[in-house]
Amino acid sequence: MENKEEDKKEYGIKDIEEKVDRLMKDIEDLKKEVENDSEETKEVIRSISEDIDVSMGKIETLSSEIEAAREKASKLLDSSLGDDGEE
């Protein structure tokens, strides 16, 4: 009778251990999936980000050129007739 109880217990634990292993495997699979998704997304984001930074760099350069022209035009107006209080 006692042996029967022991067998039952042992069989029960084995069953639980199998379930634990299965759950751990499922968790590991999900972990891998999440990590793969993350890597893929990061790669796409990196590429988008780089493209945008390149665009922003071009805009910055073009803006600097506009600012330089604006500075030139502004100085031209400052130094011109009419700013010496003649009017």
Partner: protein, 394 residues
């Protein structure tokens, strides 16, 4: 932006404080300079420092108009003196003709005396005419120089805008397309994360069931803890990774949105400035067209053919009628377009101290005010639409 920190009043700009101390300063010029500084200060407070150059050009425009007025006044003066000279010369010719046909000594003396007086007057007028002519020439030179200079500044900007603005706009369009792609990726990612969270939820349920089974199977606390902690920590790692990815994509989206918004803001300043400079240049060419076709605006005024837009109205009346006209508009539009009474002195200043303003100038004032205060294109479009139905006489 670089120009935000630059004050045109400094370093020899209009109304530069260091220019105000000249010993032989003209009180009128001093007053102008004071107005310049005040005008600039109120402009600068609007925190639209980027529009400094636009402000300078607008300011120059006012000065050009002032010189144009001086030229007109001087032309009228020269014409009037020339007419007086012509009439005096005719009188002298008449006296000379009477003298040649008359032997009466006493009449001749009186006529000779009259002739000498007229000749003196004529000399005086000729001298005055010469001075006025000189003044006119100087004003014309000033005008030409002011216009050349203004046009040169505008042309520098138009050239650079024609060349540089389009590529900026193209880069913004491309960046926005990439931003949209990122939005789609974020949305796909959310779907995946939602599904993965659901799986995690089911794992948690399994874990709880296992915990119960282990207890029932009589597995001791330490062993149970060792088995379950591994399961728990792995699940936490996944949940953390999902959260981290979500935050990272959101932060990247914010970062990209901010960058694009800054670029758009910058481009919008350039677009507005280009439009403004182009309108001055277009106005200049249409003025030249009119002059070439002989349609002198002065002649038009003299013949009484003043158009509705050129007709002056009392500023107080204009403001009252304008506010009444926009009463039915939405609250947001009214916030931008309603003119408070304390703005009236600014309008008078805009009208060179006059109490009257033409409808065209009134519209220009409101447009500039909106551009400086809000830089809102939609409101400018609304303004355009409202002005189509605004009639201060009704």
């Amino acid at each position: 932006m670089e120009t935000e920190d630059k004050n045109p009043v400094e370093g020899g700009g209009f109304g530069s404080p260091e220019q105000t101390g000249s010993e032989d300063a003209d009180p009128e010029a001093e007053k102008d300079k004071k107005n310049d500084v005040e005008e600039y200060s109120s402009f600068y407070k609007t925190e639209v420092g980027e529009l400094t150059l636009q402000w300078k050009i607008g300011h120059r425009e006012k000065k050009v108009n002032k010189i144009e007025n001086n030229v007109s006044k001087e032309e009228i003066r020269v014409d009037s003196i020339a007419k007086s000279i012509e009439s005096l010369e005719k009188s002298i010719e008449k006296i000379e003709s009477i003298l040649s046909d008359n032997d009466d000594e006493s009449l001749r003396d009186s006529l000779e005396e009259g002739k000498v007086n007229l000749e003196k007057e004529l000399d005086g007028l000729k001298e005055r005419k010469e001075k006025s002519q000189e003044k006119l020439e100087k004003e014309k030179e000033k005008l030409e120089e002011a216009l050349d200079n203004r046009n040169e500044a505008i042309d520098i900007m138009l050239d650079v805008y024609n060349e540089k603005l389009k590529p900026i706009e193209e880069e913004i369009v491309q960046s926005k397309a990439r931003e949209e792609e990122l939005k789609v990726i974020a949305s796909d990612m959310k779907v995946k994360h939602d599904r993965q969270r659901e799986i995690l939820k089911s794992f948690r349920k399994e874990q709880r069931d296992l915990e119960k089974s282990l207890k029932l199977a009589g597995v001791n606390f330490l062993k149970r803890r060792s088995i379950l902690s591994k399961i728990r920590s792995s699940q936490e790692e996944i949940a953390d990774k999902i959260k981290e990815d979500e935050e990272s994509i959101k932060s990247k989206q914010r970062d990209i949105r901010d960058k694009i918004r800054d670029a758009e803001k910058r481009a919008s300043v350039y677009q507005k400035e280009k439009k403004y400079f182009q309108s001055i240049r277009d106005g200049e060419s249409s003025k030249t067209d009119k002059e070439e076709s002989g349609a002198d605006p002065k002649e038009k005024k003299e013949t009484g053919e003043t158009s509705e837009k050129e007709k002056p109205f009392l500023i107080n009346d204009l403001v009252k009628k304008w506010n009444k006209h926009i009463e039915e508009r939405s609250e947001e539009e009214k916030t931008h377009l309603m003119i408070e009474e304390d703005i009236i002195p600014d309008i008078e200043k805009f009208a060179d101290g006059e109490k009257e303003l033409t409808l065209k100038d009134f519209k220009e004032f409101i447009s500039k005010r909106i551009s400086m205060d809000h830089g809102n294109k939609e409101i400018l479009d609304v303004l355009e639409e409202i002005f189509k139905t605004f009639d201060p006489e009704n």
